[in-house]
Point group: C2
Chain length 234, copies 2
């Protein structure tokens, strides 16, 4: 490529990355805002999350369009191609995470009639999920392998917390039938948080592929960590 073409290509790749991170920022904001609406009984914030999901969806389409253009005109190779492939997968996860945050906001609106039980558990699950999302996005932003691996390694804890909450809510519902609706809403909010965590792990796996050229999806997470750090004996 000529020098000015290389420069333009680099600019496009940077712009692509910035857009993905902007989308990630919106998703983080939506998740936090939806949980804050719940904790502070603030329906205005919930409506804001629902309204702003459009901006996340618009970025998905814009980024996918950019990657197609780059593939068609620049024909990236090697690590550049891996970056573009990662981007294509990551935007799908981010879009779903936005939908799940929107779902939490919608569930929050239902809680007006049914005060939730154990909001503090939801809060602590959401803290874990925020960490997972931040790790995945930092891993992508800085091609940070350690952050990606940390995200994989935390995953079991998030799932464990979700499962114990499911049991806890079930017990409440069985003890008091008037708690059934509240219990169901709480379970659904916890499930949405857990699924946001799942998508963060998907992103982390793609980032590992981007950095190491190794596909670690569908491998046990500790095995994956050992594989990419070269510590197979651990």
């Amino acid at each position: 490529m000529k020098t000015h073409t290389i420069k333009r290509f680099e600019d496009e790749m940077n712009e692509l990355k910035e857009k993905v991170l902007a989308m990630g920022g919106l998703v983080e904001k939506a998740t936090k805002r939806s949980m804050n609406s719940l904790i502070k009984h603030d329906t205005k914030r919930a409506y804001k999350v629902i309204e702003r999901d459009q901006a996340i969806n618009a970025l998905e389409i814009e980024i996918d369009e950019m990657t197609r253009t780059i593939l068609a005109l620049r024909q990236p190779a090697a690590s550049d191609l891996r970056f573009v492939m990662t981007t294509i997968k990551v935007v799908t996860d981010l879009e779903r995470m936005g939908d799940l945050a929107e779902g939490i906001a919608e569930l929050m609106l239902e809680t007006q009639e049914h005060p939730l039980i154990h909001v503090s558990s939801l809060e602590s699950l959401s803290d874990q999920v925020f960490t997972q999302t931040a790790l995945a996005l930092n891993a992508f932003a800085k091609a940070d392998l350690d952050a990606a691996i940390a995200c994989l390694q935390n995953h079991d804890k998030v799932n464990g917390k979700f499962k114990s909450m499911q049991r806890e809510y079930l017990t409440y519902m069985m003890e008091d039938a008037r708690q059934i609706t509240a219990g169901l809403i709480s379970t659904n909010i916890a499930r949405n948080l857990q699924r946001i965590g799942d998508h963060a792990v998907n992103i982390a796996e793609m980032v590992i592929y981007m950095i190491k050229g190794r596909d670690v999806r569908h491998i046990d997470h500790s095995e994956a960590a050992a594989l990419v750090t070269g510590n197979q004996q651990k």
Copy 2:
């Protein structure tokens, strides 16, 4: 490209398509088998679904690897590039659909202790979802715009059915606390089916993009149908 290179490229694109359809076939089989395990109280079939999810996961990795190779070596353009982009998105949906079918099989195993309520509703929801999956896969196989549009147009019916089932199960749980666990399992199975339907719609939307070069995600489905058929006055 030289004639033999063109021939090889065409072969690769056909092979890619065949692999996606093979993956789709496994997903259809997994969904049907998981529902049959439920209807016929057959735990063996449920274990088979769980065991065979690995084959779906393996195809995801294999297909993604193929698309990378094609992008790197063949640098497809225009409709070929749209086909490859569609494939990259479609495999993600298919893999999730496989996970959801596996989830149904796992829930079926829980029903041994808690006989389900209203299995016939689940059966009729699953029939709708099988149709959606078949429409999406046929649309992809034959670049059939009508099938893709039909899939979009059916979506509201599937969601409506799921919502009315959620209410139905809630009523049962409130009337009889001993039904709570069974009601929750039934709700979760229905949710998995509804999400499989969601992924079928994602595939149909990508197929519309593949055929028409138009991104109809995040547009109202009837509007999307009018857009791509040119019947805006409808």
